[in-house]
């Protein structure tokens, strides 16, 4: 889906922002969002890392979070599948919904949540197991497979979708850590895909990779769009411009602006956004 099409499609939909402050451009809404965050605050101890962020995530688009280091974009991303739970001092308030269900409600099983909202990390983190076992790990623990044949099928399908199958099909028993950095990261994406998530969160997935490996990952993200909701945190504005259709700009724990990627980059409303994308700071 090209940007102009989506723009036309969302043109008639209005904007609803409970805080009343207009952070979003008026033309970004399309249908029911996959995830919806409202007035989300994240604290580390007493320190407020995220201040009242509201945003919708759609399966149809790749959403990019950009902003200077320490602005809270990764923190907010980790709030979306409750990975912040692993940090004892972190506390999340506000409301984050997945298909209308509050993910911080007491009835929500965090294990199920993370199976539906997968995550790819900054540094490739394959398990020190074989390539096959890396992919098979998720399906096995979730009991998605009955037989070895099913598992083989899932492994092949996931690796194909991650564009890694041709490179590794003859050495599935090799250790995942023996692959190159770019291959490792695609392995991690394949691993996330293998549990059939609905949303994939990517935390600066290319920051440890060289430009060629980065190009492959970006291509892959483009292919996965539509099938999975994708949120990507990136330091590189070029990358955000290349892969995303929606961009949110974060600064000092606030979401400053959210809109079509093309609008954010060519026609930002906020001075802070403009300063950042023109390289004035950050």
């Amino acid at each position: 889906m090209s940007d102009s099409e989506t723009q036309a499609a969302d043109a008639e939909l209005g904007l609803s922002n409970p805080s009343g402050k207009s952070l979003e451009h008026e033309n970004v809404e399309v249908g029911e969002p996959k995830m919806r965050a409202r007035d989300v605050d994240v604290f580390y101890g007493d320190k407020k890392a995220i201040d009242s962020v509201s945003i919708d995530i759609h399966t149809e688009f790749v959403t990019a979070f950009i902003g200077p280091s320490g602005c809270g974009k990764s923190t907010f991303l980790r709030a979306l599948n409750r990975m912040n739970d692993t940090i004892p001092s972190a506390k999340v308030t506000g409301c984050i919904e997945l298909d209308g269900e509050d993910i911080y409600a007491s009835g929500m099983d965090v294990v199920q949540l993370r199976a539906r909202v997968g995550m790819v990390f900054q540094k490739p983190n394959p398990f020190p197991k074989s390539i096959y076992e890396n992919i098979a790990y998720g399906p096995k623990i979730h009991g998605l497979v009955e037989s070895k044949t099913d598992l083989d099928e899932i492994v092949e399908k996931s690796l194909r979708r991650a564009g890694l199958w041709e490179e590794v099909k003859d050495r599935l028993e090799d250790s995942g850590t023996a692959l190159s950095g770019g291959q490792q990261q695609r392995l991690c994406i394949a691993r996330a895909i293998a549990v059939e998530p609905e949303v994939i969160l990517m935390d600066e997935p290319c920051s440890a990779l060289d430009p060629i490996a980065t190009a492959k990952i970006e291509e892959l993200i483009d292919e996965l769009r539509g099938r999975y909701g994708i949120v990507i945190v990136t330091h590189s504005m070029q990358q955000a411009a290349r892969v995303s259709q929606r961009t949110a700009f974060f600064h000092l724990g606030n979401m400053v602006e959210y809109g079509h990627t093309s609008d954010i980059f060519t026609n930002p409303r906020e001075k802070r956004t403009q300063d950042y994308i023109t390289g004035r700071y950050g």
Partner: protein, 461 residues
């Protein structure tokens, strides 16, 4: 002048040299055009002090160790020594009595033969004492002269002093290494002597262990020196029973402390666990002998075992296992903590539970470190002496029944070394051979474990 006075004098000279050299350097500094000299005055002071004190003290030390034999030589060369018995206890007594009177440690001699030797002793020790003092002081003076001649504004005293400090550090570290080399050398030497009496094949493959210190002096019966039951006892107590206790408990406590315990609980529990490692092994020993062993015997009796031993392998092994828990758990804890958080996050982000993450990702990733920890624990367990001396028995027995009495290598080393046999007997020398075997095994375990740990560390850095 006694040795301690001499020491004080040399140190006093050193202090004086320090003060003088320092003030001299300060003078250089005032005279220098830009108020700078190559090294700070303190370093000049230390330079002089080291040159004065170190060679002099080294000489004094060497002299103190050789002057005794020089004195003895000159006394024996004296005509009065011609009447001495050629060797034996009496000769030693006479000489030591004469020496005691000469040095003023005793008033009179009980053996009249010693009287004639008092005067030669006194003369010789005075003579060599004066030589020692004079040479020491001369060396101090020479050192001072040498150092002071070299003090100049552009003299790099700091570099010299730092070199001296470096040398001291090197020597300090060599002491430990040389001691180890010495220990190995003495072990090897005695072991070779033992293998001259009993062939290594008999020793390593024989299954009957009954050294007899009284009769084995000259021609030991090799059939009595089969060490297999000792190796088996050591293996059974230290590896099988102790590890059945230590590995599961150590692993579980490491996982709990590392992954589940709240920080507050952890700050209390971890030191408490480490106290276990600080309990003296002799305390474990009597706990095993007085509490655990009788309890096991009673339980065995109620279960219908006939005539259970009160010195069972089980008691020693169980207590040893408890003692080893901190080693296993702290190594496992470290290795699990060394697995990058990213690995854990990767698993959690796939929707794995904490339990699945630990079982399937953390422990497998930490396995090399855990295995290394277990190897170190084993090497510690088989070298453990006090517990088995108190709780195991002297009976060498090849048995897989943990309720029976068994003996270990370390127990037999203690028993044979502290026994009544002379140091040349096969029974005593056997202790060295046992020690040598034990040393080789623990050394191999330690080397392998350290290599494993090192490779594991590299993998994550």
């Amino acid at each position: 002048m006694s040795a301690s006075t001499l020491l004080l004098v040399v140190l006093g000279l050193g202090l004086a040299g320090w003060l003088v050299a320092r003030s001299r350097a300060a003078m250089f500094r005032r005279a220098a055009s830009d108020n700078r000299i190559a090294s700070l005055p303190n370093y000049h002071g230390w330079y002089a002090a080291l040159w004065i004190a170190v060679p002099a003290l080294l000489f004094a030390l060497v002299w103190a160790s050789i002057s005794g034999s020089l004195v003895m030589q000159s006394v024996l060369a004296d005509p009065a020594a011609a009447d001495l018995p050629p060797f034996g206890l009496q000769r030693e007594t006479i000489l030591s009595q004469a020496q005691a009177v000469a040095s003023g440690a005793a008033q009179t001699v009980t053996n009249p033969a010693a009287n004639a030797l008092v005067e030669p002793f006194r003369r010789a020790s005075n003579f060599y004492g004066i030589i020692g003092i004079v040479v020491t002081l001369l060396l101090a003076g020479t050192g001072a002269a040498f150092a002071f001649l070299r003090l100049k504004p552009d003299f790099r005293a700091r570099n010299r002093v730092e070199k001296a400090v470096l040398g001291t550090l090197l020597v300090a570290s060599l002491v430990a290494i040389l001691t180890t080399v010495g220990i190995i050398a003495s072990l090897v030497f005695e072991t070779i002597r033992f293998f001259g009496m009993v062939s290594p094949i008999d020793f390593l493959t024989g299954t009957h262990w009954a050294p007899n210190p009284m009769t084995d002096d000259v021609n030991p019966d090799p059939a009595r020196y089969g060490a297999v039951p000792l190796f088996w006892g050591t293996f059974f107590i230290g590896v099988v029973i102790a590890m059945i206790v230590a590995i599961p408990l150590g692993m579980m406590s490491a996982i709990y402390l590392n992954q589940y315990a709240a920080p507050r609980v952890r700050t209390w529990l971890k030191p408490a666990l480490e106290i276990l490692a600080g309990v003296p092994t002799v305390v474990y020993g009597y706990f095993a002998a007085l509490t655990i062993a009788p309890a096991i015997r009673d339980i065995a009796m109620t279960l219908g075992v006939e005539n259970p031993s009160s010195e069972s392998a089980l008691a020693a092994g169980l207590v040893m296992g408890v003692m080893i828990i901190p080693f296993v758990s702290s190594m496992a804890d470290d290795s699990i903590a060394a697995v990058p958080q990213a690995m854990k996050d990767g698993s959690l982000a796939l929707g794995a539970t904490q339990n699945e993450t630990i079982k399937k990702v953390l422990v497998p990733a930490a396995l090399p470190g855990i295995v290394a920890g277990i190897m170190l624990a084993i090497s510690r367990a088989i070298g453990e002496t006090m517990i088995v001396v108190m709780a195991a028995s002297a009976t060498a027995r090849l048995s897989a029944n943990p309720l029976e009495a068994m003996t270990t290598v370390t127990y037999q080393i203690v028993a044979n070394l502290t026994g009544e046999a002379s140091t040349d007997s096969a029974a005593t020398l056997a202790a060295f051979a046992l020690g040598f075997v034990l040393f080789l095994v623990t050394l191999a375990l330690n080397v392998v474990a350290l290599r494993v740990v090192k490779r594991f560390r590299e993998a994550y850095e």
